[in-house]
């Protein structure tokens, strides 16, 4: 660890000459920078997707977890009685914190998107909805269903967890996929830098042998390559991250009916997270080049 820290300090302070002893390498340099930029760009999106999926999962999981609905479907003259009966049952059900029948105005508001605001509910066989809020421990849905079936034949329990659970799971998976993508992108940076560093070391075999002959240590030689590739990875990743952050910033903002697509942008302090990508990229390049250099140099006399 101390070795890494020392090397890092050396890397940042720099050594003009150590950098000069390896000839400049044109195209390879540009390719490495480009690859780092592209990977960083993609990593920002993977990160944004993960965070958005995480927010979605949390919202679906928490906000909706506590509420359920009971539908009372009955002939018009019985509906009030059955609603009262159902409320009575709910009052005596363990785990139900609160239950109330929606009033006519609320029901109309729910249906307005489909039937228009001028709807006369009396004219339609519309079920009565009862909203209920659970206590934290939840309630026994199967037991409640049985009691309702026995005592209030027109009442049906809509347990939200039935349709919610797969969505929460899907959002969780999406988040996992996002992080796996970010990891794979990091590994790709390591692979690309390793290949580029090996190519550079092979192309500079004569330079390395001259340096050995005049008394350069492996560390000095490796440093010249490590510094170069770390800076390239850092520079490339910085470009990629900045482009991706601009792209994310001009995405349409999160709307009221926020789904995954509209809520993709970073929120609050999450804007800081992409800024960690360039140093991380540089660290990956630093380690990858170090390994490649030590391998190659170890084989020489």
């Amino acid at each position: 660890m101390t070795v890494v820290r020392l090397d890092l300090r050396h890397l940042i302070s720099g050594d003009r000459q150590a950098n000069r002893v390896v000839p400049p390498s044109g195209v390879t340099a540009h390719l490495t920078i480009f690859a780092a930029a592209a990977m960083a760009f993609l990593a920002v999106f993977a990160m944004a997707m993960s965070l958005a999926a995480g927010r979605l999962a949390a919202r679906w999981g928490d906000e909706l977890a506590q509420s359920s609905t009971i539908r009372v479907v009955a002939p018009a003259d019985q509906i009030a009685a059955q609603t009262q009966a159902a409320l009575g049952i709910l009052e005596t059900t363990a785990g139900v914190a609160f239950a109330r029948a929606l009033d006519e105005a609320e029901q109309r508001a729910l249906l307005a998107p489909w039937f228009g605001a001028e709807l006369d509910l009396q004219a339609l066989p519309v079920p009565q909805l009862i909203e209920m809020i659970e206590e934290d421990e939840g309630f026994d849905a199967a037991g409640l269903r049985l009691r309702l079936a026995a005592e209030v034949p027109g009442a049906f329990l809509d347990d939200h967890s039935r349709w919610r659970a797969p969505l929460v799971e899907a959002a969780g998976r999406l988040r996992l996929l996002g992080w796996i993508s970010a990891l794979l992108l990091g590994a790709s940076v390591a692979a690309i830098v390793t290949l580029a560093a090996r190519a550079a070391l092979a192309a500079n075999a004569q330079v390395i042998s001259v340096l050995r002959l005049v008394g350069a240590t492996d560390r000095y030689i490796a440093q010249a390559f490590i510094r170069r590739f770390s800076l390239r990875a850092f520079g490339g990743a910085t470009i990629g991250v900045l482009c991706a952050m601009i792209a994310v910033a001009i995405l349409p903002g999160a709307s009221e009916a926020a789904g995954l697509l509209t809520g993709l942008s970073f929120q609050g302090w999450h804007w800081v997270l992409p800024l960690f990508i360039p140093p991380l990229c540089a660290l990956v390049a630093f380690l990858a080049t170090g390994v490649a250099a030590r391998r190659t140099l170890g084989k020489l006399t």
């Binding site: 000459q17 002893v21 004569q206 001259v210 340096l211 002959l213 005049v214 008394g215 140099l297």
Partner: protein, 225 residues
């Protein structure tokens, strides 16, 4: 300084050198001679740790080269200046930068060293070519640059493999005077050459000993040549 004990070396086939015991005393001046292919370059490589003996021990400054790690070899090369028979340079750096390279890789570059560099460049007659790139140099200029690079660290030992192979008589006398000068400053000098007139010229300036490789052995040649 440099001590070989019952050293043998072979590149894989038959033995090229065998059972060589030799001590290079500090501050002395040696020539190593022998026919082409006798193993002069090989013997020098054994002396600066580029080759490990197939038998016997090589001690450099009292340390066994077989026990040296790679960084140990690197440190050793800062104390032994070597002029290689095939002088290699970093072709993208100027001659001046190449000559200063040993200072840079050992972190000893400084303003004082820059002064030494200019003096040294003048000594080997390369001041005019300081900014040239190595591929633009003539064979003799390359050898002079290689000699300058070998001595810039002020090493304790200078090993030179055919340092005058490509230069005219006058330049070879100049290089010889530089090596003699270094020897007077207390450095051990070993020059591999088959140029007998160079050896004769040296003998007028310095107490030089001549080692000759023949029959896989190193012998101290007689005073007369």
């Amino acid at each position: 300084m440099i001590e070989l004990k019952n050293v043998a070396y072979s590149y894989g086939g038959g033995a090229l050198l065998s059972d060589i015991s030799l001590t290079l005393a500090a501050g002395s001046f040696y020539f190593l001679t022998g026919p082409s292919g006798a193993g002069k370059t090989t013997l020098l490589k054994l002396c600066y740790g580029a080759l490990q003996p197939t038998a016997g021990d090589v001690l450099l400054f009292g340390e066994d080269v077989a026990g040296l790690a790679r960084d140990g070899i690197a440190a050793l090369r800062r104390r032994v200046g070597v002029v290689h028979q095939d002088c290699q340079f970093l072709d993208h750096l100027s001659v001046a930068e190449n000559i200063a390279l040993p200072l840079d890789v050992s972190g000893r570059a400084s303003a004082a060293a820059d002064g030494d560099l200019n003096e040294l460049m003048a000594w080997v007659g390369l001041t005019q070519r300081a900014e040239a790139l190595p591929p633009e140099l003539s064979g003799g200029e390359r050898q002079r640059a290689a000699l300058a690079r070998a001595v810039i660290m002020s090493p304790d030992v200078v090993l030179a493999d055919e340092p005058t192979g490509n230069v005219d008589w006058e330049m070879s006398q100049r290089l010889l005077r530089l090596l003699v000068e270094l020897n007077r400053m207390g450095k051990t000098v070993l020059i591999a050459t088959h140029d007998l007139s160079l050896i004769r010229a040296a003998k007028t300036q310095v107490q030089a000993r001549v080692l000759r490789i023949s029959n896989r052995q190193v012998q101290l040649a007689g005073a007369d040549l």
